[in-house]
Structures are given as structure tokens and as C-alpha cells.
């Protein structure tokens, strides 16, 4: 009997506290899986400094958007920006927290990292299944001097819905009319060709295993798995290598201030060194929060992250948000997030 009372008491504590804990130094967030390592690193450092804990559940962008709309969490996170209509319908504000790059990777005998050059149009036709051999005329035309085999290309894509896929397909969609009419872009699409691997690690493994394959992964996975990346032609017609610098070049060229809802899409940005497949991952918060103390705690956390999180982001292969962009976001917080008519964010 004693045991039962003890268990009951514990249960009451568990359930009872989850309702109260909100106000007690705990911020709840849910959403995208891609920035999860970064947010948990930040949360760890932030808790050490301030005692405020962050509980971030990486349940996927879809779940994160649903939960912030239902107001069950203090913030949501999404890999793809929400549309302006979606934001205003649900009374949400979004802002970017980190930038990632997507990199095409190949497994062709004799081809080293950075040797193969591709354009968006050719890449789209490979993923459409229209270019089927590595020694196709159109690939050879931009790769003079590179010896490419007469072998069938195996396309590898993500099988799970993902922000990586959103960014990648958005890039192909902009460049190739056929892709636009047949496939479009989204976190998951109707792939015309190839095999699907689960997660970045799934695609990375498939590309390593399958000869003559091509896939796309987050930059960090290409680095860690020592995959052979390609060069890509950007809007300014330069062939660029994927790196922190070229991702940052893509981000700083974007017009954050002038884009409604900050729904900036970082694919195919202009700039001499801009890598063409980059994307930001976003945080979603209520514009008129019901729990003002928590809303403020969330903004304080992300302000701290903008200010101090850059180095940690770089060490995990994410590109931090440039300072001038962070300033634009904080101005928007001050203007738009209101509790009982008074601004939540003042600095």
C-alpha cells in the first residue's frame, strides 16, 4: 500500500508540475530536426549561465508548426519559411536562427571532391531521370578534361519529409521549367527517379554504397562522411565550392528587410561567391502571446543566441545569422510581439 501511495504521489508530481513548470525557468519548444544539435548546444550553455532551461523536442517541422498554432509550446521551429498568409492567419512571427547549405554529393570512380561541375538545369534533369549516363553530352560540356564513365546514374533522395528536400527542390524548381511543372517543391515531393534514404545519414550511406550515384545532403554530413561534393554554378555564372564563406555570401546578399514575413528563400541568390542551395531555419512565436513571461524568456534566449551563439554554430557546421540580420529581427520583435498592448521585447 505504501508503494502505491508513493507511485501516486510521484504521478501527481509529474503531471502537476508540467502545468506549473512553464513559469519556472523552463521554455518549451518543438519542431525541426535539422537545427536540433545546435539548439541543444545553445540550451546547455544558456542553462549553465542563466539557469533557464530549454526543452526542445525535435518532432519535425510539421509537428512544430501544429504545436505553436495550438499554443501548446512557447515557440515552434520550421526548416521552411511559412507564407505571409499562414503567418497572419495564425498570428505568428517568424525569424531565422541559423543557415545551412545543401550539397550535391556523388560517387563516381576517379572523381575527387570539387572536380565535377554542375549547373542547376543539368542537376534538375539528372533528378528528373532525363540525363541517365555520367558521360552525357551536357555534363561533359561543362566538365572538359574530366573523364566520366559510361555508366547509369542512380539518383538518391530523401525518403522522409525534410527541410533539406525543401531547399534542394526549391533550387531545382527555380532553374528548370520541366521540374517546375512536373514536380514542384516541398518538404516531400513526388520523386520522378531514384531511391530514397531515411535522413541525411541514410542518403550519405546510400551514396557511399551505390556506385555511380548522386544525392544531396546537409553540408555537415558531406564533411563528416567525407563524401565527394560537386561545384555548382551560381546566379552570377561562377562555379563555387560549398563552404562557410559561400553560404554566408548567400545569406548576406538576401533582402531580409524587404521580404514580407521574413520568408526569405536563400536558394539561387546573387553574389559572386554565393552558394546557390542555402536555406535558413526558422523560429515561430505568437505575436500576441497569452503567457507574457514565457514569451519574454524565449526572446531573451534567442537574443543571447544571436549575440553569443555564432562560434558554437560554426563548430557544429551551421552558418550563424549575420549581425545586421539579427538586428532587423530584434527590431521586429519590439514592434510586433505584444502582450496586452504593450511590447514584450525592450532592450
Amino acid at each position: 500500500m505504501k508503494k502505491i501511495t508513493l507511485i501516486l504521489a510521484l504521478l501527481v508530481m509529474c503531471f502537476g508540475s508540467s502545468g506549473l513548470a512553464l513559469a519556472e525557468n523552463l521554455i518549451n519548444g518543438a519542431g525541426a530536426t535539422f537545427p536540433y544539435p545546435l539548439y541543444s548546444k545553445w540550451a546547455y550553455e544558456y542553462a549553465k549561465k542563466t539557469g533557464v532551461k530549454l526543452n526542445y523536442q525535435s518532432i519535425g517541422s510539421g509537428g512544430g508548426i501544429k504545436q505553436i498554432k495550438a499554443k501548446t509550446v512557447d515557440f515552434g521551429a520550421s526548416d521552411a519559411p511559412l507564407t505571409v498568409k499562414d503567418l497572419s492567419d495564425s498570428d505568428l512571427l517568424q525569424f531565422p536562427m541559423a543557415i545551412g547549405g545543401v550539397v550535391p554529393v556523388v560517387n563516381i570512380k576517379g572523381v575527387q571532391a570539387g572536380q565535377l561541375k554542375l549547373t542547376a538545369d543539368v542537376l534538375a534533369d539528372i533528378f528528373l531521370g532525363k540525363i541517365t549516363k555520367w558521360n552525357d553530352k551536357r555534363i561533359a560540356a561543362i566538365n572538359a578534361g574530366l573523364n566520366l564513365p559510361d555508366d547509369t546514374i542512380t539518383v538518391v533522395h530523401r525518403s522522409d519529409g525534410s527541410g533539406t528536400t525543401w531547399i534542394f527542390t526549391n533550387y531545382l524548381d527555380k532553374a528548370n521549367a520541366d521540374w517546375h511543372s512536373k514536380v514542384g517543391f516541398g518538404t516531400a515531393v513526388n520523386w520522378p527517379a531514384g531511391v530514397g534514404g531515411k535522413g541525411n545519414e541514410g542518403v550519405a550511406t546510400y551514396v557511399k554504397r551505390i556506385k555511380n550515384s548522386i544525392g544531396y545532403v546537409e553540408y555537415a554530413y558531406a564533411l563528416q562522411n567525407k563524401l565527394v561534393h560537386t561545384k555548382l554554378q551560381n546566379k552570377d555564372k561562377n562555379f563555387v565550392e560549398p563552404s562557410m564563406e559561400t553560404f554566408t555570401a548567400a545569406a548576406s546578399g538576401a533582402d531580409w528587410k524587404g521580404t514580407p514575413g521574413f520568408a526569405v528563400i536563400l536558394t539561387d541568390q546573387s553574389g559572386k561567391n554565393a552558394w546557390p542551395i542555402a536555406g535558413a531555419t526558422f523560429i515561430l512565436v505568437q505575436e500576441n502571446p497569452t503567457n507574457c513571461a514565457n514569451a519574454k524568456a524565449v526572446l531573451q534566449f534567442f537574443d543571447w543566441a544571436y549575440e553569443n551563439g555564432g562560434q558554437m554554430a560554426k563548430s557544429l557546421d551551421y552558418v550563424p545569422i549575420p549581425k545586421n540580420v539579427a538586428q532587423i529581427m530584434e527590431d521586429a520583435w519590439a514592434k510586433k510581439i505584444k502582450c496586452n498592448g504593450a511590447p514584450v521585447w525592450t532592450k
Binding site: 517541422s61 525518403s159 517543391f185 531511391v195 550511406t205
Partner: protein
Amino acid sequence: MQVFDRHKSYKIGDALFKGIAYFFALSVIVLMALIFIVLLKESWLSIKTFGFKFLYSTAWDPVSGDFGALPAIFGTIVSSLIAIIIALPISLGIAIFLTEMAPKWLKGPIGTAIELLASIPSIIYGMWGLFILAPLLSEYVEPYIIDYLGFIPIFRGAPMGIGMLPAAFILAIMIIPFISSVARDIFRMVPPILKESGYGVGATKWEVISKVVIPYTKSGIIGAVILGLGRALGETMAVTFLIGNSHDISIALLDPATSISATLANEFTEAVEDIYLSSLIELGLILFVITFIVLGLAKILINRFSYTGRR
């Protein structure tokens, strides 16, 4: 008087126990009904939008919101059936060896090993399949299948080590412990007198096994197969790693395919639109119904083949 009191208190205890047992047993049915109702409710949007077309449509286009379940249903059933075809003879062989031929000192270790295999989490099989089995298949098995059996359409495709056949292979490995340990227990229940009379009239070991043991245990073996099939139909992680996750129906077994549970595991997290989520839940509903039908068929088969002793 005392005796009477004791009797009475036992009666109350009995009634209480009966009530509790009833409640637990009924709660299983209630739980099933609730799961069914929730699945139906959540997939209603998709059922209303696509109707019966959902069952035979091959579309899977999250961008335009057009969904169909046929590739997933096809992949689920075909991969499970191939797994059974591979696993059944091997499992029966193991069970027969253990009950009829193995020396005593070998029975224990093999029996334990099989039970251990059954308790390995499926994600481990998936990782092993992807990192060890897939490269082996693509290097040493699939090229030969394509070269020598490629004239049959089902053995065409690229030797990637990932696709319908590799997924069925891993499923077979996963269900062999289930089928073989159940079959072993059933073979043990064959009355020795039947076997001995077989040997008595001069039958060989093979004749006793094929003419006495197997016919006697037919319904039990069917039960074991259904158990394996049940596990294969719903298996998720191992299949997700190996099946290739492509929403196409291909007659070639080396090509990538998908299954219901793999689709759910892959796409649930990022399904933002209502119709997308609803379609995924309808897939779950379909898997629920398929499993129900399989179990129903099993009941009918077991009843028909039950050994009655007459005949």
C-alpha cells in the same frame, strides 16, 4: 458456521476475480475499437477526398496533395510474402533438426540462440542490413542474379543492395526465429506413439517427418506462419532502411519499393498539410484492416486443417 463463512468469503472473492478478469479481457476489445475509431476519424478527410480511388491509385504527390495507397500496399504484401517463402523452409528445417535429429548437447545452445535472435530490436537488423547485408548483396549476389536469372522480369534492375528483395531477405531473417521456435514446440507435441508406429512399419526418417509429423501439425505450422506474417507486415525500421522508399510499383524485385509502415516512419514528422497527414493515417487504417484479414484467414485455415484424428 465457520465453514459456511469461509465458503461465503470465497464466493465474494471469486465474483470479484471474475469481474476483474472480465474487465481486463473486455478492455482489449474496447482498446481495439477505440484505435479503429480514432484511425477512421483522423483519416476521414482523406477518405472523403479520395474515396475508393485511394486504394488503387498509384499517385503520391505531397506537393499537389494527391495520394494513393497502392504502391505501399503492394510493397507491404509482396515483401512479406517473399519473406515467408524464404523463411518457411529454413524454419521448418531448423525445427525438424532440433526435434528429430540434433544430439542433446546441441539442442540447448541452438534453441537459446534462436530465442535470442527473436529478441534483437528491429533497428539493429535495419542497421546491420544497411551496413553489412546491402553491400554484400550488391557485390556478390545481385550481379549474378541479374546475369543468370535476368531473363525473368522479376530479377531485373540495378544491383544496389537496396530494394524489395533485400528488404524481404531481412524480414525473412527476422521472422525465422518466430516460425522455427513455434514449429519446434509444435513438433514436440506429436505423440511419440505415432512416430514409433511409423518407424515400426519400416518408414524412414524422412517418411516419418513428411507423412506423420508434418500432417499432424499442419494447423500449428499455419499458425506459426501467420505469426511470422503478422510481424513481417508491420515491421518498420528494418524495412525502411532497406526497401529503398520509392512510391513506384515495379515488377523487378531488385528495384526500390515502399511499404505502409516504412512510408509512415518516413513521412509522418514533416507532414504539414491536413490532407497529407490524413492520407498517412488512412495508410495506417489500411494496415490495420490487412492485419485483421490475415488473422481472420488464419483462423479459417487453422480450423479447416486441424487434425481431428479421424480421416
